[in-house]
Symmetry: C2
DNA sequence: CGGAAGAGTGATATCGATATCAAGACCTGA
DNA sequence: TCAGGTCTTGATATCGATATCACTCTTCCG
């Protein structure tokens, strides 16, 4: 009971015995060792023996018992994927592309959701270590606490950070240049004359940013922090108090809705809102509509990533687009690369973002 | 090489040795057997021995080697999830809720995508069997071929069908009453005076329905077939040729776009379109906009499931809503129930759907 | 024709956890 | 004090695949 998990094993009945290597060997009239060599392609076996073993395996429908192989090998062909929410567009798409790349490399993935909770992430990482995964791709929930990830590395398990960076953790990383993308979006808005530009983002964790607490951007998850820094830097050029419309809320669409309603209820409401990602954007768009404002006439909107539905809203949503499929592929590539060469120095893969102007930022202010 | 997968093991270096039960036993000054009993909570161990073992385990940071445990037990605590595309809203959300329910039950999930290809599904099921999963939840790609699923059952692995039924396969099933939901949506459209109602759906498989081939609704995946039957039945009441605007396309948004453009290019174009699911709806909505038509003025639109973005389109999208979270929960529940009692008769869990009227079906025809 | 090199093979140890079994320690009641 | 029982414990078999080692049998060359 050291892992604190109730035993489910009790529920499980014994399986009907499946075909084992021993049975294949018996049918082929050779020893287990010879059968193993014939099937495993190592050592040497005569053509005759090999044929008989392969025939016996095919006839019996032999399939190797993976847990047994993994026990012996000390590792598996599974890659763990730890993200906030598999049902969100960004993580859904990246997980899909990780999965595709994994399949191509002969690996499988095991997905675990954290809802941006550090405690859930720790549990997930430990579970994956217990499973003896070959490696893991993690969208770290905390920018500052990576001890569990360092432990994984110490146990020889490659850790690739996806979309996030963790201070003090020397790991391979893949992320999009969200700061640059946000800067482009801000340049567009500011160029159109917007000055009261809101920013709605989920702060790390499901509880959001404590009201009144001092804002330490460095404590936010890195992709969020990058966007916010770009936002604040751009605003600082043109207004005195850049943090005035910065709304940090808990994780999720509903919280974003509430935060946006609050922004819009102010007498000097923003004329534009930057939604850090597309889940946030859903809340932002609904809040604007419910408050009786029009996009972009009353409020322009930009989202920090690109959901599948960006072109079916009216007006279509301007977004910062990330090469999500490439991110996932690169993440898995870094895992296999590090498996092949565990000692090589860590690399950062930074993929470019672009600003996709659509009609939700379509006009100049007041137009 | 019997499994036809390249060995990735070659890439993997030996791990630094991790803490084993043997080491815990040594440190506690007891035998492996006693340590195992103390940690595993079976047999008996004196309080003193138990304390020393627990202390030793904690001090060394002992964590059980799951592959080894699984080898011995002949099963794992992993549930396989086989769906068309984890990045789509319906499967993304259901997988998420399966995952949550699994976590609560002390289980993990392994997700595999099929893109509705039967061959990919077979490979996925076999992989899961090799992994010795405790059970699997499958959105079967074929309504007629379930041999691989029957094999899983024969090996004692519970198979729960999600959103799909397979002819001749006696398995637990969870699905929403999509036929009833589609009927409600059709009633609404017909009540508004629509007669030329299009239906866009992906036919089973990534290659769609061969043009000119006779349509055998029974060969479509069951959830799609249920919707289509309801659509045809409703239309048959009011028009002579109900299949006239039935467009079956390959899997995916782009194919739906093309199919819809074709429908809209006809001289007697449809005045309403039923999109079988929300991925299809993305293509449908874009096609309507690109063809220069307005929703719902020129073309009314309904989607057969509910994406997160249904309320942010203009106009908001009318949908058939399914209790997706409940579907996922029920699926996992059926897995654990069958693990507990492998012989009980199979059950169907059919959850209700509702028609959520929004503005995309907002007016009567010609209004 | 002797001996070395090499191919082919079976026996066997290993991975780490699980679980049974038999033996020993201890206690109770007669 | 001894028989019968319970509690505790270590030794050991097991799961199935992997991989090494040593032995046998060829083969080939000097």
């Amino acid at each position: 009971m050291v892992d604190g998990v109730d035993r489910v094993d009790d529920l499980v009945d014994r399986r009907p015995p499946s075909v084992t290597l021993t049975e294949v060997a018996q049918r082929a009239g050779v020893s287990r060792a010879t059968a193993a060599r014939a099937l495993g392609g190592y050592g040497s076996a005569s053509a005759a023996a090999r044929d008989r073993v392969l025939a016996a395996a095919a006839a019996l429908g032999y399939r190797p018992n993976l847990p047994a192989r993994n026990t012996r090998n000390g590792t598996t062909t599974t890659v763990g994927v730890v993200v906030a929410d598999i049902a969100s567009p960004f993580f859904g798409q990246s997980t899909r592309s990780i999965s595709d790349a994994a399949k191509a490399a002969g690996l499988e993935i095991m997905v675990l959701n954290t809802d941006e909770e550090l405690e859930a992430e720790r549990a997930a990482v430990h579970l994956l270590l217990d499973q003896r995964v070959a490696g893991m791709v993690v969208a770290a929930a905390s920018r500052t606490d990576g001890r569990h990830l360092a432990q994984a590395q110490a146990e020889g398990v490659p850790v690739v950070l996806l979309d996030r960076r963790v201070i003090g953790l020397d790991a391979d990383r893949v992320y999009a240049d969200n700061g640059a993308g946000a800067a482009l979006a801000m340049a567009e808005l500011i160029g159109q004359g917007h000055r009261r530009i809101g920013y709605v983002s989920s702060a790390a964790g499901p509880h959001g940013h404590p009201p009144g607490a001092p804002l330490v951007v460095d404590e936010l998850v890195s992709s969020g922090g990058d966007r916010i820094r770009a936002y604040l830097a751009a605003l600082a050029e043109v207004v005195d108090e850049p943090t005035r419309y910065l709304a940090l809320c808990p994780f999720g669409e509903e919280a974003a809705y509430a935060a946006t309603r609050e922004l819009l209820a102010r007498p000097d409401r923003p004329t534009a809102v930057f939604a850090s990602d597309s889940v946030i954007a859903l809340g932002v768009l609904r809040a604007i509509a419910d408050a009786g404002f029009a996009v972009p006439g009353d409020v322009a909107v930009v989202a920090g990533d690109e959901p599948a539905w960006s072109r079916v809203t009216t007006p279509p949503l301007s977004t910062v687009t990330q090469p999500v499929a490439a991110l996932g592929r690169a993440a898995l590539e870094l895992v296999t690369r590090r498996l092949a060469d565990p000692t090589s120095p860590c690399t950062d893969v930074v993929l470019p973002t672009t600003f996709q102007a659509r009609a939700s930022t379509g006009g100049s202010v007041g137009a």
